[in-house]
């Protein structure tokens, strides 16, 4: 049976078979919640109108700054290099970034390329969960049910004032001695790519020309009708159509099963779902502002948070060792190259292209 399916990338795809089994099982999966998982610690403080004077407020801020000031960043030489050799099966940590918009760039033959600009926030490693322990957790048990367990690195980004968080949430960071972070993420890593807590992760973690996967939550469209949500054609705009312009039409045959199949496409909530964009190529890295330009688009609206990590696609993985386990600025004080471009891109300061 031919059916036209509306893909998440808004391209019409013809599928030869409508897999009722798969659609039925997947339609019962809960895709969004408005609350965090039950094992999460309560995060945000209820805003209490504390009538605090401006002098006291300044004092509180100074105390916070003093407390977290003298954390020196981890250097590359602090790590034992013997344990951590790169091999093709290594999984490195990922990075939390903000999608700050889309910029048009041009390739050397004049072809225009749409690039997403991702701003790598102030990432720090919070803690490492070794494979044996992670395999016992709820998510870890599901992920590693039939395969060898790997470790889990918890990374935080965007430091914020501790006042806005609860004490339990701040305690997650107190062992490490970091300002509490607004966002946390887990990255699956092999034991040879482990990073000690407090390690900063920057844009230099990635290599020009590599492929990355970007995970984000798609744009929230709210409750949408069947035309926008599933790409139905609706009805005629004129020629006497009574109240049938953007409706779904028939929802069953009336014959086999004599009911509506689960998974029948109907209006409902659209968007705000976890999605991965796989194999996006990094075309430019700006080390000064910690910004990565990635060829293509990523899930989510502008100014939303995404996670970036090395691609899982087998043909686009690394053949040479990347900065492993992460990038550390050179210790002899030499500054790295500020703006690194991929060889296929036209650099803006260079002369115009003559074909």
């Amino acid at each position: 049976m031919l059916s036209i399916v509306f893909h998440k990338r808004r391209r019409l795809v013809r599928r030869l078979f409508f897999n009722h089994e798969q659609v039925r099982t997947m339609s019962r999966v809960k895709r969004r919640t408005t609350h965090p998982p039950y094992w999460h610690v309560l995060k945000n403080n209820q805003r209490q109108d504390e009538k605090i004077s401006s002098d006291n407020l300044r004092f509180v801020r100074e105390v916070i700054q003093d407390k977290y000031k003298n954390k020196s960043p981890i250097k590359g030489s602090d790590l034992d290099i013997e344990k951590k050799e790169w091999d093709p099966k290594t999984k490195r940590s990922g990075v939390i970034a903000r999608n700050i918009g889309v910029q048009h760039m041009w390739e050397k033959d004049g072809k225009k390329v749409v690039c997403t600009v991702l701003h790598v926030l102030d990432n720090h490693v919070i803690r490492y969960v070794p494979p044996e322990e992670y395999a016992k957790s709820i998510i870890g048990a599901k992920v590693f049910r039939n395969r060898k367990p790997l470790g889990c690195l918890v990374v935080g980004a965007e430091a914020a004032n501790p006042d806005r968080f609860t004490r339990q949430y701040c305690s997650l960071f107190s062992e490490v001695g970091l300002l509490p972070k607004k966002r946390l993420a887990r990255f699956i890593v092999t034991p040879n790519a482990v990073l000690p807590p407090c390690t900063p992760l920057t844009a230099g973690h990635f290599v020009i020309g590599q492929a990355v996967d970007v995970y984000g939550k798609t744009i929230d469209y709210g409750f949408q009708g069947v035309v926008k949500r599933w790409g139905f054609k609706g009805g005629p705009a004129s020629h006497g159509a009574t109240k049938f312009h953007r409706r779904g039409g028939t929802i069953g045959t009336g014959r086999d099963k004599a009911r509506v199949w689960p998974g029948q496409k109907m209006p409902g909530h659209m968007g705000s779902e976890r999605r991965f964009c796989r194999g996006l190529k990094i075309v430019r890295i700006n080390m000064k502002y910690n910004v990565i330009y990635v060829k293509g688009t990523v899930p989510g609206p502008t100014n939303s948070i995404v996670q970036i990590f090395d691609t899982l696609l087998p043909r686009r993985k690394f053949t040479e060792a990347p900065p492993h386990p992460t990038y550390f600025p050179p210790e002899d004080g030499t500054l790295p190259q500020e703006d690194i471009w991929d060889s296929s891109l036209h650099v803006f300061g260079s002369p115009s292209i003559s074909v």
Partner: protein, 284 residues
């Protein structure tokens, strides 16, 4: 009259431009900020000369860091190619690298009928009539295939968008392809051409009677068209301050953006003038 918001589309703009143009090319210096350093402020004409440096006003998609990085890229590109000041109604010539042309370069002359986009996406449309066929080409200002942009006649018209030239008599859109650049008598003021264009008889591509066009001769339509236009019109929009606010970047932000960009643009212009002078000296 002090204008609250820098609005590109309102007709008040045109009057303002004439007043402000007297102080052109003199960068003002603010009396000083708290630290006592003088802050150089770009001249107010910059928002008309370089409108693509202003970002898209939609708040959901704005990000200061991204706009800053985009501006750096734009200035880099401008250091290689001179993108001159132009307005809708100016006659321009653009040379583009084209693999299919005999010389590998294609040059097109036309009148700018519309310009838009912000940042590296900025574009303009040139229109000309070639062999009795109207031709319009959209050029992206920062595309690296563009070799040269010349302004042959720098002037403005009574409207911000000249799309009505598509329905006008062809002589209003015809410009010789070997047109020479015209010298301006008065460098400080950009002249406004008060030309009123004659349209062909209906049917038209758009309902021009509903668009308050200044640069078009009397349309001579039956009264029912004007009655319907009045019914459909939104005369309250010119009093809607929030609508104007949402469509524009606030003046303080504009000042910040242009003061960022001002010194670099001045340096680039200076270098170009020196190169030109050296070029004429060599010829002599």
């Amino acid at each position: 009259m002090r204008q609250l918001f820098a609005n590109r589309t309102s007709s008040i703009l045109l009057q303002e431009k004439c007043d402000e143009a007297d102080e052109k090319s003199v960068s003002k210096q603010k009396p000083g900020d708290e630290s006592g350093n003088t802050v150089v402020v770009a001249p107010p004409e910059f928002r008309f000369m370089y409108p693509e440096f202003l970002p898209d006003p939609a708040m959901e998609r704005r990000n200061r860091l991204k706009e800053k990085l985009e501006r750096i890229d734009m200035l880099q590109r401008r250091s290689v190619v001179e993108i001159p000041e132009f307005y809708t109604g100016s006659v321009m010539a653009v040379t583009v690298a084209d693999a299919n042309s005999p010389n590998k370069f294609a040059r097109f002359v036309g009148i700018c009928i519309q310009r838009g986009g912000s940042g590296l996406r900025a574009w303009f449309i040139l229109r000309n009539v070639v062999d009795k066929q109207g031709v319009e080409i959209l050029y992206e200002m920062y595309c690296p295939l563009i070799q040269k942009i010349e302004v042959l006649r720098l002037e403005r018209r009574l409207d911000e968008s000249l799309l009505y030239l598509r329905d006008a008599l062809p002589e209003y859109s015809t410009f010789p392809l070997d047109m020479e650049p015209e010298r301006r008598l008065n460098n400080s003021v950009v002249p406004i051409n008060p030309l009123k264009v004659k349209l062909r008889p209906r049917p038209w591509l758009e309902r021009w009677e509903r668009q308050n066009l200044q640069g078009v001769e009397d349309l001579n339509l039956p009264q029912r068209f004007y009655d319907k236009a009045e019914k459909v019109a939104k005369p309250w929009e010119k009093y809607d301050l929030m609508l104007q606010y949402r469509k524009t970047i606030p003046a303080e932000e504009q000042e910040k953006i242009f003061s960022d960009v001002h010194s670099q643009l001045q340096q680039q212009e200076f270098k170009r003038k020196m190169r030109r002078r050296r070029g004429t000296d060599n010829e002599q």
